[in-house]
Symmetry: C2
Subunit: 422 residues, 2 copies
């Protein structure tokens, strides 16, 4: 078991930005990263000279497969003028962004750097959906998981089915997560699906009428979400709106040693907990209704930060599928096992709830360019903690926040805890 | 420019092992890594309990493309029983192993871990040569380098041509590097090509005779190496024996905080210098006869270690092609620009020379499973510095050694300096 150790040196985030997420035929991961880097530089209150950046970590799942471009880190460094700094790609499937953040923290904590750029980027839409699904499946275990015939919707569907059987959840309950995350994304100008499900449904009706086709008869989003033509089943019990999209996007944050943070901003965000854990493949776990790596990472991050789950004001969690958000909200200790879906139903995870989750829209609606997601979660935390989340800003004091980033079926999980001191 | 900083905490290597390198139809990267892990555990003089390992870094270029298996780190961790420790893959093309080593050093220097496993693995031979060449080409820049029509033999052939034009080297001079590295590999039981070029040539003659074909008339290896049927041109001026092979293999080293090294061995090897640099694509460099990232990394590693090039007793350098070794021997400061090929000709880089290079056989003859190579270099340093390199052991005291690991055409380079204290 990994020992929990405190950071020997404080680390602070002093800038954060992201590209718009979506499907961009004309942009590659390099273009998207440059966009996110520019947004990051603008967010640094007192400005800075890029020449002081000493190292760069990039989270990327598989530009190898998506763009036929491996070795992405030095290419992105060159694109933003940072050659010859050390530029390292890290990969732990969809947790690559969280792992990149952790490496950045470690580089500063080690004393080997004072200023580190952490980025994440993925360009997925150049391939068709079947090819993307196949590329993503390489994140699972090809010896144990893939031969069972699964791709990722199937894995998470199996978890959802197990959760339903164990805790009495209905598949309808998952829709609460999708509705909430679309509501949040509608207020996030960088989101891929910047609209509520109501708006989406109305768009479908309008499109049908425009084509002279009979208009669908959905009168509520619940009818829409229950209808196979509105919300088709992907892998029972998961339907289309239970799944995060295929996305292009990038994100970037600037980390510095805490003692120099005031040179960049009077309102830095400290990273006070960082943890990562690995997990076995799905067949070798005691239960499908919880992810052991997430529980281990959460426990270690809380201990390092000296906080508990109840202290966390907001969290960005890895909702690659709606069931993943429900399970995450339990693994992180926000709700008891079997209570996560009820919390979502009761509005506890909404922006005005007791424990807002995925105010950004989450992977589900903000989009999920896989290697960028863990870094983009950090961008949302940065904005919420500094009161810059505009229309989706949560009320009151956000002095403690958390990000939770999962790779594959949970064979990697990172958890980070952030603190704002006034 | 990255600042050079000393490590705030000493880091020592207390174990190192590798799999046999070669083409193994029946083994995947998981099998090979387990083999290297077992060899590493056996090398730890006083033994250890694997439960104390707190984190793991894996260098891997693209199991995504070679094995349809991404997210390799937690899978390898699970294979050797280390779940749930943080398990992170790092990728910087053929420098992935060196970068993994550096992350391991950083994890200990940061105080976040005391005991870290560093591994490297690549299984390349499941694809045919054309497919491997295409997969490797994704390590180059798809926007600038690949559209010029190059794959890697072509890139390094361009460097060789430029070097010949600038310094008067003949293509024959490169053969000295190949002959030396095969001589060394003949004494390395883990090498893919564990034979001298003389033995290789005799094997070709014997095979022809066995098939009843006319025997080739080569009477010396020089005739063999100059003959298109013995040593065909791949990309002028590079011939077959100028190129490293397509390989399967893995390597593993165990790093610990220096203050606990005595618990593992009375003869640890300290890592006193670590540096990494990035470089632009080939089109954007002032010269083709030197790799700027290598010079930057070398300067920074020497400064951190407090040593100079002349202090280094042996070096494992990145000889993906023979020309790469010549250029490396100059970029590292062992020889003046334009003098590296003469040093090889004069035997200065042989085992009994003033500056032995690639006593392991190098990538050229030991084999080049790309993500493993940087870690396997470290295994050779471990053996030579502890007097355990058997028939290829260099004479005298090896108190300072160096590894040099390059990604792509030089868009990444790592340099590490190792010290043995008696």
């Amino acid at each position: 078991m990994p020992k929990v150790k405190s950071l020997p040196r404080g680390v602070a985030m002093v800038g954060a930005g992201m590209s718009k997420f979506g499907a961009f035929a004309e942009k590659n991961s390099r273009d998207l990263f440059v966009e996110s880097y520019k947004a990051m530089t603008k967010s640094v209150d007192k400005g800075f000279d890029p020449a002081i950046i000493e190292a760069m970590y990039v989270g990327n799942f598989s530009s190898d497969q998506f763009e036929h471009q491996a070795h992405l880190a030095p290419i992105l460094a060159d694109a933003v003028g940072l050659t010859p700094i050390p530029a390292t790609r890290v990969e732990d499937a969809c947790a690559s962004g969280g792992v990149a953040l952790r490496q950045g923290v470690m580089a500063i904590a080690s004393g080997m750097a004072d200023v580190v750029l952490v980025g994440g980027a993925e360009k997925m839409t150049a391939l068709n959906t079947a090819a993307v699904t196949e590329a993503l499946a390489t994140a699972a275990d090809v010896a144990y998981e893939i031969p069972a015939g699964f791709t990722f919707p199937g894995f998470y569907a199996a978890m959802a089915s197990a959760y339903m059987a164990r805790y009495g959840m209905k598949s309808e309950h998952l829709m609460n997560v999708a509705i909430k995350n679309h509501d949040n994304a509608a207020l996030n100008p960088n989101a891929q699906f910047g609209m509520t499900i109501q708006t989406w449904m109305e768009g479908r009706v309008a499109a049908a009428l425009k084509k002279g086709k009979p208009a669908p008869t959905w009168s509520t989003i619940w009818e829409f979400l229950h209808d196979e033509s509105g919300n088709p089943t992907i892998a029972y019990p998961l339907r289309l709106f239970d799944c995060s999209p295929i996305s292009d996007g990038a994100a970037a944050v600037l980390l510095v040693a805490e003692e120099i943070a005031h040179q960049f901003t009077d309102h830095p965000i400290r990273i006070i907990g960082t943890a990562q854990a690995s997990g076995s493949a799905l067949h070798d776990r005691p239960s499908l209704t919880s992810i052991p790596a997430a529980k281990t990472a959460a426990a270690n991050a809380y201990e390092m930060a000296g906080v508990t789950a109840k202290d966390i004001r907001i969290a960005e969690v890895h909702d690659c599928f709606t069931i993943a958000e429900v399970i995450a909200s339990e693994d992180l200790g926000f709700f008891a096992p079997g209570e996560g879906f009820k919390a979502a139903e009761d509005g506890m995870t909404a922006r005005d709830g007791a424990k807002p989750i995925n105010t950004s829209g989450g992977l589900k609606a903000k989009g999920h360019p896989v290697g960028a997601s863990g870094v983009a979660q950090t961008v949302e935390v940065w904005k919420q903690m500094r009161g810059q989340a505009e229309a989706r800003q949560v009320d009151g004091d956000v002095s403690l926040a958390l990000t939770h980033n999962v790779g594959a079926t949970g064979s990697t999980c990172t958890v980070h805890v952030f603190e704002r001191r006034n």
